[in-house]
C-alpha cells in the first residue's frame, strides 16, 4: 500500500492536535459549588464563661436572647455590631454600669430612623457600622470613619 505523503503529514498534524489538546483536566473537573449567601452577621459567640461578676447575669440573658429571639427573628438590627452584641462588647470593654449607659444610648440611635443612612459608615450591604470603640469616652480609641465609607472587616 502506497501512502500519500501529503495525507500522512496531515494525519500526523491532526493526530497531535487530538492527543495534546486539553491536557489540564483539573480545571474542568466536577465541583460542588454552593449558592448559599453567607451571612456572618449571625455568627454568635455563645460564650458563658464567667470573667467578671457582671457576666453571671449579663451573659445568660444575652445568650438566651440570641438563641430564643434574635437568631429566629433574623438579622434585623440595622447596625453592626447588633445592639445585643454592642451591650456584650461594651460591658466587656468598660464595666456593667458604663456598658448599660452605652446600650441605652445605642438603643436611642437604633430607634432614630431619620437620616441614619447618611450618617454612618456601611458594613456589608445591609448594615451601618457603629463600633463600641467610639463610645467608651476614651478619645484615643476613637477612629473616625466618614459616613457612607464601606468597611471590610
Amino acid at each position: 500500500m502506497i501512502i500519500n505523503k501529503k495525507y500522512f503529514l496531515l494525519y500526523i498534524l491532526i493526530f497531535q492536535f487530538t492527543i495534546y489538546s486539553q491536557t489540564d483536566w483539573v480545571r474542568w473537573e466536577k465541583s460542588d459549588p454552593t449558592y448559599q449567601i453567607e451571612d456572618t452577621f449571625l455568627d454568635r459567640n455563645y460564650d458563658l464563661s464567667i470573667e467578671s461578676a457582671s457576666d453571671v447575669i449579663v451573659k445568660p440573658v444575652i445568650n438566651a436572647y440570641w438563641f430564643f429571639i434574635s437568631d429566629v427573628d433574623g438579622a434585623n438590627c440595622p447596625f453592626n455590631p447588633s445592639c445585643s452584641s454592642f451591650l456584650a462588647q461594651s460591658i466587656k470593654e468598660t464595666n456593667i454600669f458604663q456598658g448599660t449607659l452605652m446600650f441605652f444610648d445605642r438603643f436611642t440611635r437604633d430607634t432614630n430612623v431619620f437620616g441614619r443612612h447618611e450618617h454612618y459608615p456601611r458594613f456589608g450591604k445591609k448594615h451601618l457600622y457603629d463600633p463600641v470603640s467610639l463610645y467608651t469616652l476614651n478619645e484615643e480609641k476613637i477612629k473616625y470613619i466618614p459616613a457612607k465609607t464601606f468597611i471590610n472587616e
Binding site: Q98, T100, L101, M102, F103, F104, D105, F107, T108, R109, T111, N112, V113, F114, G115, R116, H119, L134, Y135, L137, E139, I142, Y144, P146
Partner: protein, 282 residues
C-alpha cells in the same frame, strides 16, 4: 522549480527573521519610555533597571524614582532619589522629591531634619521645602509658629488657604463635652442637638418623655410595679442620653480633626507637595 522556490522562501524567512534586536539597550529604553508615558510605572521600572545594568544614566535613575513615587512606593522612591549624585542635573529635584517621600511615609524628626537641611541649602527648591515643612506642621500636635512667620514662604494665592488652616488649627470649632452633658441633663436630647445629632436628640427627648409620662400615669393610677419598671427604663434613657451626648461631642471633635487633616492633605496633593512637574513624555 517549485521545490527551489519553497526552499528559498523557507530559508529567507529563517535567515531574515527578527532582525530587530528587541533586547538591545536602546530598544529596552524606548519600550520603558513607552510604558512610563503610559503610566505603567512598575513595568517601566523593570525595563529601566535592565537598561541601567548596561549604562549608567542619572536621568533613568531619576525616572525610576519618579515611577516609584507615582505608585506610592515611597520607601523605594526615597532610596532611588537619594542615589542621585551631586554632579547630576537632577540633584536639586531629587532633594525636594526625597522630602516629599519622607512626608508621605511619616512626619517625624527625620523628615523635619531633612526639611531644615534643604531650607538652609542653596537649592532652588529651598522655598518649596519651606512651604512643605510649614504645611506639614499643621498635621502634627506641636504648637505653630507666629502666623506672620508661618505664612512667610507662601505665595499670595496660597496665603488665604494657609491662613484659614492656621486659624482652624489654633481654634478648631470643637463642641464642649461638658456642655453637651449639661444640656442633655437639663433637656433630654439637647446635648445631641448641640453636637448636631438632631435626629438622635429628638428621639432621646421623645423616648425619655414617653417613659416619664408612663411612669407618672402608672404611679398616679396606683400601679407601682409597672410605674417602677417605666421609671427604671426612663432613667436609663435619661442617663444614657447624657452619657451619649458626651460621647457624641467627642465624635464631633474627632470629625473636626479628621476633616481638617483631610483638607490639609488635599491642599498639599493639589500643590503636588510643592515639587516641580516633569514632562518626560513630550
Amino acid at each position: 522549480m517549485f521545490k527551489l522556490f519553497f526552499l528559498i522562501t523557507l530559508l529567507s524567512s529563517l535567515l531574515f527573521s527578527q532582525q530587530i534586536d528587541f533586547s538591545s539597550p536602546l530598544n529596552i529604553k524606548l519600550f520603558a519610555d513607552y510604558l512610563f508615558c503610559d503610566k505603567d510605572y512598575l513595568r517601566a521600572i523593570d525595563e529601566y533597571e535592565k537598561y541601567l545594568s548596561v549604562f549608567d544614566d542619572d536621568s533613568i535613575q531619576f525616572k525610576i524614582a519618579v515611577g516609584y513615587s507615582a505608585i506610592n512606593d515611597q520607601s523605594n522612591a526615597f532610596k532611588k532619589f537619594s542615589s542621585i549624585k551631586k554632579t547630576s542635573s537632577f540633584y536639586d529635584q531629587s532633594r525636594i522629591e526625597m522630602l516629599k517621600s519622607l512626608y508621605l511615609q511619616k512626619i517625624d524628626s527625620s523628615y523635619f531634619l531633612n526639611a531644615d537641611l534643604l531650607i538652609n541649602s542653596q537649592s532652588p527648591f529651598s522655598n518649596n521645602a519651606y512651604r512643605l515643612k510649614n504645611s506639614s506642621l499643621l498635621l502634627i500636635k506641636n504648637d505653630l509658629p507666629e502666623k506672620e512667620n508661618f505664612l512667610i514662604p507662601f505665595e499670595n494665592e496660597e496665603k488665604n488657604n494657609l491662613s484659614n488652616f492656621y486659624d482652624l488649627k489654633n481654634d478648631p470649632p470643637y463642641k464642649s463635652e461638658v456642655w453637651a452633658g449639661i444640656f442633655s441633663a437639663i433637656i433630654p436630647g439637647a446635648g445631641k442637638i448641640y453636637t448636631q445629632e438632631y435626629g438622635d436628640g429628638i428621639t432621646a427627648f421623645i423616648l425619655t418623655g414617653l417613659f416619664a409620662y408612663l411612669a407618672y400615669t402608672n404611679f398616679d393610677h396606683d400601679h407601682p410595679t409597672r410605674a417602677w419598671i417605666f421609671t427604671a427604663i426612663g432613667a436609663g434613657f435619661y442617663a444614657g442620653n447624657i452619657y451619649g451626648s458626651v460621647a457624641s461631642a467627642q465624635i464631633f471633635n474627632a470629625r473636626v480633626n479628621f476633616d481638617f487633616d483631610e483638607g490639609v492633605k488635599l491642599f498639599l496633593e493639589e500643590k503636588n507637595y510643592f515639587t516641580p512637574t516633569y514632562d518626560f513624555c513630550k
